[in-house]
């Protein structure tokens, strides 16, 4: 048969071969059906490991306790016992190496997350003692009068003097 009849076939074979080669290079070798089957498990399994390697930023109270045992003991016997250190002090990351010091959030807004009074009868929020930040000593940091590690104690007045 004449070659012009076969020519399209060669073109098709070439295209198919190119696609197969490209597929071999581009698709990761581990790509396949996972234990969850074709519908939910079709993926690249090495990605699971990539997600597991994400850096932990919040090291939890147990990590802080190792060096700051005194602070830990103080807050644990106070009404604020359930609040994690890193909620106010920020994520520990690799502290004390990096960062050397944590940036403490002493804003009124931080305390008002729980202590802005909302009269919600069917929520735990309604049971928390609260204030209206607009009328309750506006401009002053809460820690001036209230010691956050044990709100039953007084805060740092010296800190207030620095501000005034």
């Amino acid at each position: 048969m004449k070659s012009h009849v076969w020519r399209p076939l060669y073109v098709v074979l070439f295209v198919v071969a190119t696609i197969l080669v490209v597929r071999k290079i581009v698709v990761p070798p581990d790509f396949g059906i996972g234990p969850r089957g074709y519908m939910y498990g079709w993926h690249r399994p090495s990605n699971e490991g990539e997600w597991q390697k994400v850096t932990v930023k919040y090291r939890t109270t147990e990590y802080c306790k190792k060096c700051h045992r005194d602070k830990y003991d103080e807050i644990k016997q106070s009404p604020h016992a359930n609040i994690a250190c890193e909620n106010c002090h920020g994520p520990a990351l690799a502290h004390p190496e990096d960062p050397k010091a944590l940036n403490i959030d002493r804003t009124r807004e931080l305390c008002a997350r729980c202590h802005f009074r909302l009269e919600y009868p069917t929520s735990g929020r309604g049971k928390i003692r609260g204030i209206d930040p607009k009328t309750h000593n506006p401009g002053l940091e809460c820690v001036t009068c209230h010691w956050p590690h044990d709100p039953r104690k007084e805060g740092h007045h010296d800190h207030a003097q620095k501000l005034l």
Binding site: H43, W51, C114
Partner: protein, 261 residues
Amino acid sequence: MITRRSFCKKSLLMIGGLALPLSAFELFDPKRLLAEKGDGKKVRWVFLVDTEKCVGCGFCVKGCKTENEIPYDANVTRTWVERYVVTKDGKTHIDSPKGGRDGFENRAIDIGEGKFQEIKNEEISKAFFVPKLCNQCDNPPCVQVCPVGATYQTEDGVVLVDRKWCIGCGYCVMGCPYGVRFFHPVYHTAEKCNFCYHRISQGMKTACVEACAFGARRIGNIRDPEDPVTKIITTERVNVLKEEYGTTPQVFYLGLTKEVK
């Protein structure tokens, strides 16, 4: 010499033998049957949210955004807290300013476009907060619709997104009935809550669970009968969101009402 009778007999025997599948010769093994009945998995992560305990402080949202590197000021978040205020006239007012990242420090409901609706305390019949996150469904619709296999479910039940493989088509964002998916503003790939997979894989709790001072959020392993979360789910009145979609969500709620469902 082969007779007509023996030829017929032998052919029938051979056809009968060929028709028997190999598995018919396998011996009955009760241990293997039991293993196949349960799927044999040791871990299946589930989440428990107690809406009675949530006070809407938003520390969970703040912690999640930092832990999972979601740009802090972008208006997207893997988990968020909704406020529901049901008034005595039967209306439900819902808001979640910035996903509740900064808590709820305004009595008025954020109704969008910078407008706020004041609600008097005496008009409220019930008001509460509901944290939301990915339900890590047993039948995740977001995974079914992915055309490239970039999103998938791990053996322990967590749905993950392969950032290298995601093409950003957005089918999964549309497919999720709970609206938990969005595009990551930096990577431009689909993004979702993954129960802090890096933390739970090494025995830690998720960032949101650690940040919650009220025990409103808890994570557990439903395959472990001694897990306190499993005990609550199996013995108390828990509910899930939008079960009519058939997604079999694995985030269980205590104190869920019809306004939320």
